[in-house]
Subunit: 414 residues, 2 copies
């Protein structure tokens, strides 16, 4: 087991002004190749906090990944503290300087002395190229422990990690394999799932760990094991997955890193179907869920965010009578929206959402969290209702997952 | 200074399978009322890791907030380890049990023995009500240090914090005030900003801290000071803000927690204007940015996500000739999209995005990251172009901020 620690430096993290996504993405990358992440730590841009943390790490860690504190402005003291910890001086790296100059000229921007100082590094480090940014990565070794410093900007650091740091770490440590197998479920609460697979869970060998990871109406089952023989571990975990699937088949939408929207996208492409999306309460979130991934244009024609009743009527063709009689949050409106988007955009499939997302807008008959979702194809148009939570953004996300799951079920039948 | 530590428990955090948003939101809440967050720590669901962390915390912390590890399933051992650390037994809390029963019956779900066990708590804790979930919060005191355990589910924990934990902590510690003043800028790189305000920054008194927080084409300037006299600190920081504003006025869109979309929403409401959004490369993200906040319906009529050229032509009225001659990513298409959405939905203002988000789809003439944004009202229709990055999601977010900033500038002129 090669223990790895992830340290984030930045006052903004401790003030709650920036979300630390680096700990998340770096953990995933380390875990995927068999390193064991033991701890995440976030500390302030303060010399003593940094020195104390390095000292603590050097006793227990083999790998310490540090993010943040490398900007050009005066609140950043990481590099100086690094030099102090390793008891070395600073030097200006000419390759980095040239790279910074190129970045600035390609963006047509003026370079300041502050920007030039980003090419200064402690003399004992190996510079790691940062393709997308001006702050270089830095690789240090001390008593068999590797310290790697990277910028706080997530996409710069993710790029440095996958292109440079992971290959170097594998080369240096040659770690054992950690294997995860995940079963992705939707539409079943964690406790019911646990009860359903209780016997299987009790029969798991002790070296296989099981975790339940609930998230927005979905629960991921994660099996983990480790060792030197990747094939053997793979086989054992695959056999366990094969045993559990029959017990929970109707809830399972995918495996490992498959997403519900990815699964739906695959089904649409496989069956050569096009999709149109009509959104009211989700306000663009369903479309965004698909379009965040490359390749959505293969099946996604477009969407209409019908926030006002006027747009529901004029663009989607929902009947004014329907809205007057049943209201904009109703089965009838949801059905007409799903039919309407299919007709308006000329797609094979249409889906729709309408609801009271909140925080305000609820009534005794239709409280906050009342949501209707609908599906339409050339043979049928169906709607379902949910009573969700009092939380606006949660309702938007849960409605999105509900309509994706309805779409998935219908596509499997087709 | 009352030092606070935030501890997250959960293998899923260290495997990089769940993003730790609790550390972020809890830090913000603690900071806002004057506690000083010193460190975030994330550790595994392991007895020894939990005990070691509690031991470390008890030496340096006055407040330890713990999230996670309270689910009903077998991977959760936090409560047992708590009881071990405090050297007490467990008891079943009847009020919590009743609450769990009510939650289950209102959702029409079956209750299992696992669910009932969520009402078990260490005997020395004060139970804190969890309105939205089945795992109760727990408040412990040991040698003047407060330990609070809360669930991993973000909206449950945020609710427990603001309704229960923050009032109790204020009552217990009566902390000094920490005041932050933020100036929100857009459209200027961090280094240029730093150079522009260098003299002002050098003149800041030493007890006032300045930080630059860059994020997606925006940079937040944050001034921080603390003490017992809130009014005096407020006044000093406000005076510093007044001094810096004239130097950077054209980049400033707001203060403190104002967002660019919130500012635009305020301007639209103030001027009684309605907005329609036509999106291609941003795929729903611009609409979602507005609709995540309550009250968007006051100005936002709707949007059309014109992902295919067909939808651009049929629904938005972009000319086929325009697309053939200039391409779908072009100034002309962007202009026609912005005019088209205004006409189609009958809104006062229309905005549009079209671009090559990536990762694929680039050409030598229009590489990945080429984006056109446009604005249209009854007097003018204008477009701007950007050459952004190679990263798809970054391009989507940067395009969104660019079109919001264009809209903001035009609304200020109106």
């Amino acid at each position: 087991m090669i223990p790895a620690y992830i340290v984030a430096i930045g006052d903004e993290l401790l003030y709650g002004q920036t979300l630390n996504t680096n700990a998340y993405s770096l953990s995933k990358m380390l875990t995927d190749v068999g390193f064991k992440v033991i701890k995440h730590i976030s500390i302030a841009d303060e010399r003593q906090a940094i020195l104390d943390t390095f000292e603590e790490m050097s006793k227990v860690a083999k790998i310490v990944l540090i993010t943040g504190g490398l900007g050009p402005t005066k609140d950043d003291i990481t590099k100086k503290t690094f030099a102090e910890y390793f008891n070395v001086g600073m030097r200006r790296d000419e390759v980095v300087l040239k790279h910074i100059e190129n970045l600035f000229s390609s963006r047509g921007r003026m370079m300041t002395d502050l920007n030039k100082s980003q090419a200064d590094v402690p003399t004992n480090c190996t510079v790691i190229h940062n393709m997308y940014g001006t702050a270089p990565g830095m690789w240090f070794e001390k008593n068999g422990c590797i310290f790697v410093s990277m910028p706080g900007v997530p996409y710069e650091t993710e790029n440095i990690m996958s292109n440079e740091v992971i290959p170097r770490l594998l080369d240096f440590f040659k770690p054992p394999f950690i294997v995860h197998k995940k079963v992705q479920t939707i539409g079943v609460p964690e406790s019911i799932l646990a009860q359903t697979i209780e016997d299987w869970e009790n029969d798991l060998p002790s070296h296989v760990r099981l975790a339940y990871l609930p998230h927005l109406g979905k629960v991921t089952l994660r099996l983990t094991s480790e060792g030197d023989d990747k094939e053997k571990i793979d086989e054992e975990l695959n056999n366990q997955v094969k045993k559990v699937i029959p017990l929970i088949e109707k809830y399972v939408y995918g495996f490992d890193d498959e997403t519900i929207e990815g699964k739906v996208a695959d089904l649409l492409k496989e069956k050569n179907l096009t999709l149109g999306i009509a959104e009211s309460c989700t306000g663009g979130y369903v479309a965004r869920t698909f379009t965040q991934h490359e390749g959505a244009s293969a099946f996604f024609e477009g969407g209409i965010i019908a926030y006002s009743n006027d747009v529901k009527i004029k663009i989607l063709g929902v009947k004014l009578d329907t809205i007057i009689k049943y209201g904009s949050v109703s089965e009838q409106t949801a059905l007409e929206m799903a039919e309407g988007i299919r007709r308006t955009l000329g797609t094979k499939i249409g889906i729709a959402t309408t609801g009271v997302a909140g925080t305000g807008g609820g009534t005794p008959e239709k409280p906050v969290g009342t949501v209707w979702i609908a599906y339409s194809d050339e043979n049928e148009t169906v709607a379902k209702t949910y009573q969700l939570t009092k939380n606006r953004n949660l309702n938007i996300q849960l409605s999105t997952n509900a309509v994706l799951n309805l779409l998935r079920k219908k596509l499997i039948e087709k």
